[in-house]
């Protein structure tokens, strides 16, 4: 059996990132769009941890921690804004957010 190296983890992270990108481009429901963005952040976390491990450096793990913290606050603020939008318009469809067109 082949040894698992850094490249394996990076390819996996890239595949997960591509899945998240497909979700971001595909989703029209804003809640599901948020979920796709979480997948993007997780893919990057895997890459950070893998690079940190294979170079004997803890910086990768540190950055992954801060990414997790940012993801948590992003969800809190994003869902709050989404609730306000839902109360005002009754829908969380992305296509209805066209009030800023010139």
């Amino acid at each position: 059996m082949m040894e698992i190296g850094l490249t394996h983890y990076l390819v996996l992270a890239t595949i997960l990132f591509a899945i998240g990108l497909v979700g971001v481009m595909r989703r029209k429901n804003l809640l599901m769009l948020f979920m796709a963005s979480e997948i993007l952040l997780n893919a990057v976390n895997v890459a950070f941890a893998a690079i940190g491990h294979y170079y004997g450096d803890l910086t990768g793990q540190m950055f992954a921690f801060f990414v997790i913290a940012i993801a948590a606050s992003e969800v809190a603020v994003g869902l709050g804004l989404l609730i306000v939008w839902y109360k005002r318009t009754g829908t969380i469809d992305l296509d209805t957010m066209t009030s800023m067109r010139g």
Partner: protein
């Protein structure tokens, strides 16, 4: 052994996240994403990042998923969600291009062999202790800034989602709720 674990968890993660992205039911998408997050933590344990794996389970499958579950209950997304699939060729082309770009970005520094660790792992301590040592010395300021950011996010969430919380819908009579809804509708018309 490590290879078996890696391929198993890689397969499971990819399947779960693909289902999250492709499913039309919000509940299935949420459940499969929670499963995928736990599978991701397995990679952290394999990479000797024990503390990161524990944080992944607690924060993502504990806190973030609970937030999404509350959001799902609030927005009534149990019905089927329609998605825009129209420009399929555009989506596929952009995804392929982005994937190739990410591979290029990631593989570029690996071609340079002279990378050395800026903060090498302290020898002779377990991973959570090493993380603590580095976090509270080299990364103390970003750590504090992150704490302030989380506080700001918490206050922002309360302020944004807590509108009209002075009125308790569970203790109001049906007529009062109907009257409130009517007033809201009138206000919406005048706006």
């Amino acid at each position: 052994m490590e290879a078996i674990a890696f391929y198993l968890f890689a397969f499971l993660t990819i399947v779960m996240f693909t289902y999250t992205v492709m499913s039309n039911q919000a509940l299935y998408a949420l459940s499969s994403m929670a499963a995928g997050m736990i599978m991701i933590s397995a990679f952290f344990f394999m990479l000797n990042a024990d503390f990161l794996g524990v944080v992944q389970i607690i924060v993502y499958t504990g806190a973030v998923m609970a937030l999404y579950a509350f959001g799902m209950m609030f927005f009534d997304t149990t019905r089927e969600v329609k998605e825009n699939n129209s420009p399929k060729i555009v989506v596929l082309t952009l995804s392929a291009l982005a994937a190739v770009l990410v591979v290029a970005i990631v593989s570029m520094p690996l071609m340079a062999e002279h990378i050395t660790a800026a903060f090498p792992e302290p020898a002779g301590v377990v991973n959570p202790k090493a993380v603590g040592i580095v976090l509270f010395t080299k990364y103390l300021v970003p750590f504090e800034v992150a704490a302030v950011m989380l506080l700001v996010a918490m206050i922002a969430g309360i302020v944004l989602a807590g509108k009209k919380m002075d009125r308790s819908l569970t203790q109001m009579k049906d007529e009062e709720i109907a009257m409130m809804k009517q007033q809201d509708a009138e206000r919406k018309v005048t706006l």
